[in-house]
Structure formats: C-alpha cells, structure tokens
Symmetry: C2
Subunit: 240 residues, 2 copies
DNA sequence: CGGGATGTGGAGGTGATACCTCCACATCAA
DNA sequence: TTGATGTGGAGGTATCACCTCCACATCCCG
C-alpha cells in the first residue's frame, strides 16, 4: 500500500496563488486591463482570506467576514469580484478540478480496491479540511458550474473503479457510486459537529466505514435500496 | 425480542395529547387556571402542529410557521407558550425521557450486543423520524434542560451495555459511548441531506456501520482517538 | 511632481427572516 | 347580556447578508 491518503499538510494551497496576480482572470481578449500594484496586492489578500474563511466556516461565511479577515473594506472585495459567487468560483474552480485529476489517478491503480481507497481517502481529506469545498461539491445550488461538470466526469470513472473492486472480491457488492456523496455527507457532519475541537475525528469513522466496505467475510447484512441518481440530484439541488 | 416500544406508526404522538387539555401543564398548585374550551382546543392544535413542523423541519422552523400550520395566529401561540423554548420544552420533554426508558430496556437484554442494537436502532429510528428531537438531543444550547439530564442518565447505562457486549466478544473493542452521538450525527446528516426524497436511506448506512461494529473477524484497522467527553460536550454546546 | 485615473473603506440601502408584542375585535360562558 | 377571556395578524425590533455609493486616498504617467 503506497500510503496514498497521507498528510503533506495543506496540499490545497498553491493552485490559486500561481495565476491571478496582475491580470484579472483568463486572458480572454484585449478587454482585460492591468491592475494597479496596490489593487493586485489587495486582490491577493482577498483571495487568501477568502480561502481561509471559507475553508474554516464554509460558504455561509459572509463577504464582510472575508473583507475583515483580508484587512480591507467590503467595497474592495466587490470591486474585484462582482459578487460572492464570482469569488467562490475563482477560489474553488481548480480545487474542484483536482477531484477529477484524483479520480483519473485512482483509476490507474492495478488493485481497484486500493484505487477506491485512494480516491475516497484523498477526496475526504481535502473536503474535510475545507468546508467550503465540501459545500460546493455537495450542493449544486451553490455557485461553481464547474462542480456539476466535474461530478459528471468523475462518476463514470469512479463507477468503473467500484465495479472492478467488486469483481475482484475486495469491495462488498452492494455498494454504488451514489453512496460516495453520502459518505462525504456523513463524515462532513462529524467534522462540522466537533469542529476545531477534534479536526481529525472524521478519520475514525472513515476507517470504520471503509473496514465495513471490505468484502472479506460472510454474513453481511445486505444493503437495500441504494440512493438513486434522482435522490442524489435532489439532495444537491435542495435549497440548502 | 420483546420489541416493546415498537413501531405503531407514529408512536411519538400520544403522550402530550393525554394531559394538556383543560389544565395548563402540571398541577403544581392552585395557581393554574381553567382554559376556556376554544382555548384548550387551540392549544392542542398548536401542539400538534408544532410536533409536525418541528419533526419535519427541525427546531429552526419558526413559530410563525407553527401558527400557520395550526391554523391560528401567532398571537395565540404566544398566549399559550411564553416563548419558543417553552413550546419546545412542552413538546419534547417526554420524548426525551423515552430515551432513558429505552436505555433501561436495552440494558435488560441477556445478549448485550442485541441490547446495543436495540437501543441504537430504536433511538435512531425516533431521531431520524423527528428532526426536532435530534436537534434537542444533539445540541444542548437548545432548550430542554431535560436533555442534558437524560444524556447524563443514559450514558452510564449505555456504557455498561457496550462493555458487556465487548466482553462477550460481539462488539469491537475500540468503540466507546461517545461514538454514539457521532453515529446519530452522521445518519442525521444523511437524513437531512436527502430529506423526504428517501426518508429511509439512513437505514442503509446504519446497517453498514452496525455490520462494521461486529467483532467477528480478524484484521480490523484499529480505531484511534475516540471522541472525548470534552469534545462531545463542546460539540453539543457550540452555538449551532 | 502634479493631476487625472484608479482604487479604497465602510456607512448605509435593501431585503429577508426571526422572535415577539399589541390591541381592536371576536367568542365564550355565567 | 356582559364582562372575562381569547384571537388574529399587522407591525416593532433585532439581526444578518449582500451589495452600492461616494468622499477621500493612492498610484503612476507624462
């Protein structure tokens, strides 16, 4: 087991600090202007503060909070990002994309069960450390159209991994892809519940559940009525 | 299995309809007045509506909603119950007490593992069907001082059941009482997430987890760092 | 180095939502 | 019939989030 779930504390940080400095967003033409130096600096501050605040408190955190954390006025936030959704989009787009990268990576494992564990472990790690990311991925009424697209792309890959792991007799056969968002939901709830008082506690229950997913013993109580696609969609779309 | 508190669809209903009709609350002296007939009727309507609304939407539902559901004005609600907390108290006190009854009952099982399953299964059933009850039991910043008292009384009983089940080799040894509120939290999250679209889905994951708690195979990944009492208390007290 | 372009802070507008009060009016019951 | 009791729901108060606006500050080009 090449210990894929490992720590590497804060692997989420780098992506957004790379681009966004002087030119606002993608060079989609000559319409983009160059930011004044102080403005660019403040834009970065806002992004950094937003990353922190949303990671800790989820997307329910207000932009006033973000502005305060960034040491700027609210007006400054809104000058750079037309509204909250735009800021969230800018912050999470690549982190969401990472889920797809992760799924593709997990698909390359020879042992599909290990691939499954790799995906679930890493995905949970990121989403538990970052409440905002969890919100974006679990609620499609949130911004980030990218989230829906990514989910759509990840699902078949993960389905394949699951089926291969089941065919190999490693994963219990009554598990389905749609169980995965439910795992995230469950462990996310633990994470929210205990908060900073025990930030790693979710791992205890991840281990418990993963142990329970191994198909290596007789006498499983069969799992009935897996969540349907419609149910998952409805849950994600529900107003909150 | 003498399944005493069994299903009887909506076994939660009767308790509060028995007393509260003509005399408001317990006969704690001559200070209590007799309600006018229509007032008593409305009081019952309010209680029934509150039971339904809080069960479906949790304690976050507003009293305006309750009043609307009861077909009365908000003023009527506040005439009978000085504030929201009082109404919640009146509604949930006995349902909370039931948890203690359930624990005592579970303690009488010869097979401690079956007692454990009995308790967990029933407790979850009630709390999943009734979001308000879950809120009251999981968040001590909510009303219902009775909740804290009941938790305090249930804990040692449940601890004993757990330890006996472990001594009998049925329950994996690294489980602790404090895991139980986490189970409720996890399954409650699933329940909230899918809502009415799949109201029984939580059972799927309860089965999965209970299966995972059975101590009948080698090679368990050991569970580290169980939630401490302090962590649980903090979670329950946290502002929400 | 000066002046126009650009950026800033944060008070406050708007709207939502919750708890709860108040009182003109309705209903009951002696 | 008549006062005691009860009622509805408009609206007071508070909170909180998103977002706008503009007097003032800061930059940077010529």
């Amino acid at each position: 087991m090449n210990e894929p779930i490992s720590t590497e504390s804060e692997s989420m940080a780098p992506p957004y600090s790379a681009d966004a400095a002087v030119v606002a967003s993608t060079d989609m033409g000559p319409a983009e202007r160059t930011l004044r130096a102080d403005a660019a600096r403040n834009r970065q501050r806002v992004l950094a503060a937003a990353a922190q605040v949303f990671a800790e408190r989820g997307l329910d955190a207000s932009l006033d909070d973000v502005a305060h954390a960034a040491g700027v006025g609210v007006g400054t936030v809104y000058r750079r990002f037309p509204n909250k959704d735009a800021l969230v989009d800018a912050l999470f787009e690549d982190k969401i994309e990472n889920m797809l990268v992760l799924a593709r990576e997990a698909a390359t494992f020879d042992d599909a069960w290990e691939g499954f564990v790799h995906f679930v472990g890493r995905a949970l790690e990121w989403q538990m450390r970052n409440r905002g990311l969890r919100d974006v991925l679990l609620h499609s009424d949130r911004p980030c159209a990218g989230a829906a697209r990514t989910r759509e792309a990840v699902t078949p890959i993960l389905t394949d991994i699951i089926e291969r792991a089941q065919a190999a007799g490693k994963l219990r056969p009554d598990v389905v892809v749609n169980d995965v968002p439910m795992l995230v939901t469950m462990l996310g709830a633990v994470s929210d519940y205990v908060g900073v008082n025990d930030p790693e506690l979710w791992q205890r229950y991840m281990v418990l559940i993963l142990d329970g997913l191994i198909a290596d013993r007789a006498g499983w109580t069969p799992l009935n009525n897996p969540p349907s696609r419609a149910v998952v969609d409805a849950a994600m779309t529900k107003c909150r």
